[in-house]
């Protein structure tokens, strides 16, 4: 009976993972890469196609000095590193922003923070989405 229970749990777990993965729960996922925000931007700046191939769709854990923090019209919070226009942005979805409201509120320009998110590529800046704050130090 216990054995059947384990099989059933595994089946349900797999189904839930494949069909219902909440890709926004970034804090649970293991990062594919860990790097510094300025280094990440430099890689994209010097070879966008290669950097997109390497990091596109992957989970990145990025550490950097906060340039700015902004809430936008959709209730998402964007943390910008390196430069306001040509840098690395990390967007925290509104639901995640509510979950981490206290940590986000405490962030000041110049703070060193670590974020984890999926890299979608580069427009004017390198874009990380579905971000979660991983805590930081001042």
């Amino acid at each position: 009976m216990v054995f059947l229970g384990i099989i059933a749990a595994a089946a349900v777990g797999t189904y839930l993972y494949v069909f219902r993965t909440d890709t926004t729960d970034m804090s649970r996922l293991k990062p594919d890469f860990q790097l510094d925000a300025a280094a990440l931007f430099k890689e994209f700046e010097s070879g966008e196609a290669d950097a997109t191939a390497r990091y596109g769709g992957k989970i990145l854990e990025v550490r950097g000095k906060v340039e700015s923090k902004e809430a936008n019209e959709w209730g998402n919070v964007t943390i910008t590193f390196v430069d306001q226009l040509f840098g690395v942005t990390c967007t925290i979805d509104s639901l995640q922003a509510i979950k981490q409201a206290d940590e986000i509120k405490a962030i000041r320009q110049g703070d060193s923070v670590t974020v984890k998110g999926r890299c979608d590529g580069m427009l004017t800046d390198v874009k990380l989405v579905k971000c979660a704050l991983m805590g930081g130090t001042r």
Partner: protein, 184 residues
């Protein structure tokens, strides 16, 4: 076109012109919607970068394909891997202008219906499109809204026969941008 976009944006934004002429957003929204008798599919991208020149009517959009979020993770995977092949074509872009453009008076609140014409590039294929849009000016902000249809097959997006009936022949696209003056 993809390679040219960054230098184009950087050049335009770096030119010593009054910042008040260029309106910009990095959080524009594009939604696409497919409705069939079998299922409805909706995807949202609110990471659209775009600028609008209120003197010339020049309008540029750049979109990362991976940033389209679907309700189902598996559908998002199919979209990226099989249909739009986002690893080969990570971006969609639009470069064009407002037809018969009269410089916008942003000091007054108002709404104007316009026609936008330009080149839309998706999945490595560029097509000329012309769509209608509504521009609304408010103090310090311009809202742009446009609703139109695109045919995925015109951009070389092949839908496998087995799911052909799940996806509409014409996909509804809704664009919603809130532009603010570009400040460096």
């Amino acid at each position: 076109m993809r390679i040219l976009f960054i230098p184009l944006v950087m050049l335009c934004l770096a030119l010593p012109v009054s910042a008040q002429e260029r309106y910009f957003t990095k959080s524009g929204q594009i939604v696409f919607f497919s409705s069939t008798s079998i299922e409805d599919i909706r995807a949202v991208n609110d990471q659209v970068t775009s600028y609008l020149d209120i003197k010339t009517g020049e309008l540029v959009f750049s979109v990362l394909i991976r940033s389209f979020t679907f309700d189902k993770a598996l559908m998002q995977e199919h979209f990226n891997e099989n249909y739009v092949e986002s690893d080969k074509y990570p971006k969609a872009t639009f470069e064009g202008r407002i037809i018969d453009f009269a410089p916008l008076d942003v000091s007054k609140s108002g709404t104007v219906e316009v026609k936008v014409s330009g080149k839309l590039a998706i999945h490595g294929i560029t097509r000329e499109i012309e769509v209608s849009a509504t521009l609304s000016t408010y103090p310090g902000k311009i809202t742009a809204k446009s609703d139109f249809y695109i045919n995925p097959e015109e951009f070389g997006i092949r839908i496998p026969q087995v799911v052909r009936k799940n996806i509409a022949e014409k996909i509804a696209v809704n664009v919603l941008m809130f532009y603010i003056p570009f400040k460096k």
